[in-house]
Amino acid sequence: MAATRVASQSVAGADAYVPPETERKLSLAFIGVGFAHLLVGVLLGFLQGLEHAGIDLYAYVPLIRHYYQGLAIHGVFNVLVFTTYFIGGFLLFAVGRGLQRPLITAGWGWATFWLMTVGLLLVDYTLFTNQASVLFTSYPPLQAHPLYYVGLALIVVGTWLMTVISVRTTLAWRRENPGQRTPLITFGALVTLIMWTAASVGIAVEFVGFLIPWSLGWLPGTDPLLMRTLFWMSGHPIVYFWLLPAYVTWYFMLPKQVGGKLFSEPLARLAFLLFIPLSLPVGFHHQYLDPGVSEGYKAIHAFLTFAVFMPSVITAFTVLASLEIGGRARGGRGLLGWVTALPWRDPSVAAQLLGMVLFSLGGVSGLINASFNVNLVVHNTMFVPGHFHLTVGSAVALSFMGVSYWLVPYLSGRKLFSEGMARFQPWLWFVGMLIMSRGMSWMGMLGAPRRTQLGAAPYFLPEWEMPAWMTAIGGVMLTISGLLFFINLFATLWASKKVEERGEVPLAEPVNGQLGVVPGWLDRFTPWVTATVVLVLIAYGPTLYRLFSEMSLTFPGLRPY
């Protein structure tokens, strides 16, 4: 087994490496477009929360005809556009900065950006004209305008190009630096992109092979169950595509920001690598209630979903231990004194730590959703948005905001517009989210369906009143917090003054000495990708074979929105 010595992430003197200007601008462009879309998504979320409490403001909003059009934009902008764009900006930066060499090539990076942005304009156009109110899942026979599917497909192709750029740059670096281990932030970025590229096959087949030709009238109809199955092959792993960049900062950057060190490099690498095979074969936990998928395979996916919980269990320990090293170095004493000793006044740190706290609740509610027949109680109820606002809406969103608090000033060479606003903002998000997600989960356990204009539903039950108000109040707080963030972000870019000294990129070093060596299999991808293929064949093979051989493209499209 090949083993290399633990090498610190920052070679002496190389800390000063700053990616070239075109790469910095590329990352800023991705991050800017992403957050601009999140702003729209957050404002629509504000309307949704109030609607549940019986305050319908849709009549006063331009372009948005009804609740479901707003909901479609809210979902697509927040979890497809914002996440993918921020991830593009952040990970391409992480690859180049980690390897301390220019990307191959930044020109490709810009081509990727523009390809995705052409796709994005199609998505924006079809959504705002109410021609694509099919929501994030776009389940056929519900049909959208063909350009909507084309736009989303272009965005996915963009993510593949990011993988190509990152892998090629890393291979070039390996030739230049034989025998060295991939630097940690680059390693994390590669795992994220490789996992997603493998996972996106399902949605690519669904969109390019079926939905686009069907919406153009080239296919006679669609097979709803097969499409749903293909969707969830990608639709669950995509949540790890959102989450892993947050893990990149939690493991490899945040410890440095709090004055700590990475507690265990081998386990950090193992946790990342486990996500490659385990993210994929779990999609049936979204289809527990589907007729036409066997109970046995649903049970297999339930077990594998429990398995993908394990790398997050490792993360909880390793990241907290890394933070504890920092808290103790800063003078924290006793069982929990290190927690209060952490630099909570640093907005980037506070945002990420608060994201972690909410994520622990989100992890537990996710386990409930995934628990086979327990899902009968919560499936498609408000419990589900109660869950994922704690994961993608907290762990991911707060971490990306936290990273932006240092990364945007670093990339733009400008001072953060308002430190005070930044200090307050994550706390408001945290409290607002606690209230809103509690309201949603509670309402869901009382049976309220999700993705429903509940304020107008004739069956609205009196016991939903209280949690609906919690959802609305939490939503208002989140909106204010979001606005504070956006004002700060865009004022930094356009109105803040240039600084001479660019800040440092926080790169955590592993604890040395006690660890010894990192085995070579923790720096290679091929075995993990092979394992992925095998697991997917076992978990999905028979069902997909059956669904494809029984496929009947009979159902025509419908646009009831």
């Binding site: 056929p140 390793t318 027949n373 049976g447 539903a457 069956y459 159902f555």
Partner: protein
Amino acid sequence: MHIDRYERMWITLAGVMLVIFAIALGFSSAVLGVRLPGIDDQLLPVAAAGEHDIAEGWVRELAPGRYEVNMRARVWNFNPSEIRIPAGSTVTFYIHSEDILHGFKIQDTTVSLMIIPGQTAKATYTFDRPGEYLFVCHEYCGAGHHFMSGRVIVEEL
């Protein structure tokens, strides 16, 4: 590879916890009979109470206290949307959609189904407690989704 003693304990503990959860789920499914839908029928079934029809919903009594429901879901209603049965009845629902995806959830029961065009969604439940049970569509199906609901009225014997 070195793993810290406490971290090893933490990982083991979490693993054991998940195994216990899995056993509990297996028990509830195999012994208590809280089942998920499986592969039933892609065509309209010919069940105990007769031929199923996608155009017309019906409720038929198979035997005292045993009912079968042939339900049709489409934008934006269920047919039948009101089902009357005496308390203690066991009802088997067969639900079909002729247009797009719908959902079916009966409040305060374990009945929850996805209704997928081309598949037959099936669930069985015994209504012991008298009262009105609301059922709603819980999958987005267009601008009138929130109107799609109905009631099972369980009458006292």
